[in-house]
């Protein structure tokens, strides 16, 4: 396994095309957590669904490794595949629930109202953030998750979503604004938390 640690992602993919199982193992170790977290954020924090989707993605890599274009960056290619899988899942859910986002939104609003008094709790902020992320447009959500949860650069996101870097920047900024409005009730707690965590005396 150690001999593959120095290989790039693209080199590993070339070996996977030649049915090198050790190369696949190395690639899986590099990206399985990243992908499962991405799916977790994108698919309503459903852990099992995230695991299933991550497994399906790697299965696709095994089945059709030649579908990967070696000229592309593997990470961006992989996240574009993952993003397309999420889109398909959204469509399925929309057909199943007819208005899936509305139902989720209603549930989350109710949930938010019930927990309004406990909104200062950190865990609740996290839950609220996830809820608000679920409400976002698919493009805004994927962009935001990639940027702040996957630590992807603007360039990588632009390549993944096949749009310009300027579009990604503006999308991120307006998503941030939208979330800020939604999470305004957590502002006093955020101030305290941030003061402790990052050592900022004043904002």
């Amino acid at each position: 396994m150690a001999k593959y640690s120095s290989h790039t992602d693209n080199e590993l993919m070339q070996l996977i095309v030649e049915r090198d199982s050790q190369a696949f193992s190395e690639l899986y170790d590099r990206y399985n957590r990243m992908l499962v977290n991405y799916f977790y954020k994108m698919l309503w924090q459903d852990e099992e669904k995230a695991q299933d989707f991550m497994q399906d993605l790697f299965a696709k890599i095994i089945e059709k490794p030649k579908s990967f274009d070696v000229k592309r960056n593997f990470k961006t290619w992989m996240f574009s595949v993952a993003n397309n899988m999420c889109k398909n899942e959204y469509r399925k859910q929309a057909v199943r629930k007819n208005t899936s986002y509305d139902l989720d939104e209603n549930y989350q609003i109710k949930d938010t109202a019930m927990n309004a008094m406990d909104s200062l709790q950190d865990t609740q902020f996290s839950e609220k953030l996830n809820q608000e992320l679920s409400k976002l447009d698919e493009k805004q959500k994927s962009t935001f998750v990639m940027r702040y949860f996957q630590d992807m650069s603007i360039k990588e996101i632009a390549e993944t979503l096949e749009c310009s870097e300027g579009t990604i920047k503006s999308r991120l900024f307006y998503t941030l604004k939208k979330l800020t409005v939604s999470l305004k009730e957590f502002a006093p707690q955020l101030v305290k938390m941030l003061l402790v965590l990052i050592g900022i005396n004043s904002l």
Binding site: S126, K169, F173, L203
Partner: protein, 311 residues
């Protein structure tokens, strides 16, 4: 104002992450205020962004069971396995992760071609002089003699009575000599060089006996051939020159009642002699046949002509 032109949303993100509103430079404040409505909004955006970053950093990763990897590795191995014995052999001979010249299949093929060259071409090259000598040692004429000798020695030629009778009728016309004895005779052995043109004198006529004495070994000794009852010397010379002999089998009989005492012609005798049993055999062995000369070949040719005509 220059900064305002160059700044973008990416820059506002950097500002939000790294600087409070109070820490912003004048140019940066001017740019920030083009993106946000006021200082309060800037602070709220900064709080949200920092909290999101903090949350993302502290967020525990979703648990990934090992079974997922095991299943995927099994799938990978299943894809890796070649289908059937032919596939396994092909995978062994032509592995995908080696260079062309390191593939065992190519190496074995090269070795096979090399061996084929050594065995077929190399050995032929070494043995080429011997083959040429073998071909040159045997002339076509000698090969023909071989064939003729083989035919005569291996396959006894039987002459039918009818045909022989017809020939003898020709001879009868020639055998009108009063010199021939008027006695019955035994034909022990008769050497005939050319039966078609055989002179009646060449035929040995023995005294009358009921059965023809036959040599057990069917061979004719030279001294026996030298003592014919009636025979000219010229005829005998022809006989001795021959390599074939005509012998009569034991079952050949001459019916005494049908032998006329006045019979003077061979045809009369041969009418009652079953010449089916007259066999032409080769006197010489194969080893001696190698020593045949063109002269003996011509003699043999006469005998063969005789036999063909008889047939």
């Amino acid at each position: 104002m220059k900064d305002k032109i160059t700044y973008s949303s990416q820059d506002i993100e950097d500002l939000l992450l790294n600087k409070s509103f109070e820490e912003l430079l004048t140019s940066e404040k001017e740019f920030a205020l083009t993106q946000v409505e006021n200082e309060t909004e800037y602070k709220e955006l900064r709080q949200t962004l920092l909290s999101v970053k903090q949350m993302a950093a502290e967020q525990e990763s979703v648990y990934v069971p090992n079974k997922i990897k095991e299943d995927l590795m099994q799938m990978m191995e299943a894809k890796k396995k070649p289908i059937g014995w032919f596939g396994s052999i092909a995978a062994f001979l032509f592995p995908t992760n080696t260079s062309l010249f390191k593939k065992p299949g190519l190496q074995l093929a090269t070795l096979g071609l090399l061996l084929l060259f050594v065995i077929n071409i190399g050995f032929d090259f070494v043995n080429m002089p011997n083959k040429e000598m073998a071909i040159n040692s045997n002339t076509k004429e000698e090969l023909k003699e071989y064939k003729k000798e083989d035919m005569l020695s291996e396959e006894p030629i039987e002459i039918e009575q009818k045909e022989l009778v017809n020939e003898n009728t020709k001879i009868n016309s020639e055998l009108k000599s009063p010199e021939l004895p008027q006695e019955n005779f035994d034909i022990e052995k008769k050497g005939v060089s050319n039966f078609d043109r055989a002179d009646a004198k060449e035929i040995a006529v023995a005294p009358a006996v009921e059965e023809i004495a036959i040599m057990d070994d069917n061979s004719v000794e030279e001294d026996q051939m030298m003592n014919p009852v009636i025979e000219t010397e010229g005829a005998f010379e022809k006989i001795t020159e021959m390599d074939e002999e005509v012998t009569v089998r034991k079952d050949v009989r001459i019916e005494p009642a049908k032998i006329n005492a006045n019979t003077t012609t061979l045809g009369d005798v041969n009418e009652v002699v079953s010449l089916n049993s007259v066999v032409v055999t080769n006197k010489k062995s194969k080893s001696t046949a190698m020593q045949l000369k063109s002269q003996s070949l011509s003699d043999n040719a006469e005998v063969i002509d005789l036999l063909f005509i008889a047939l």
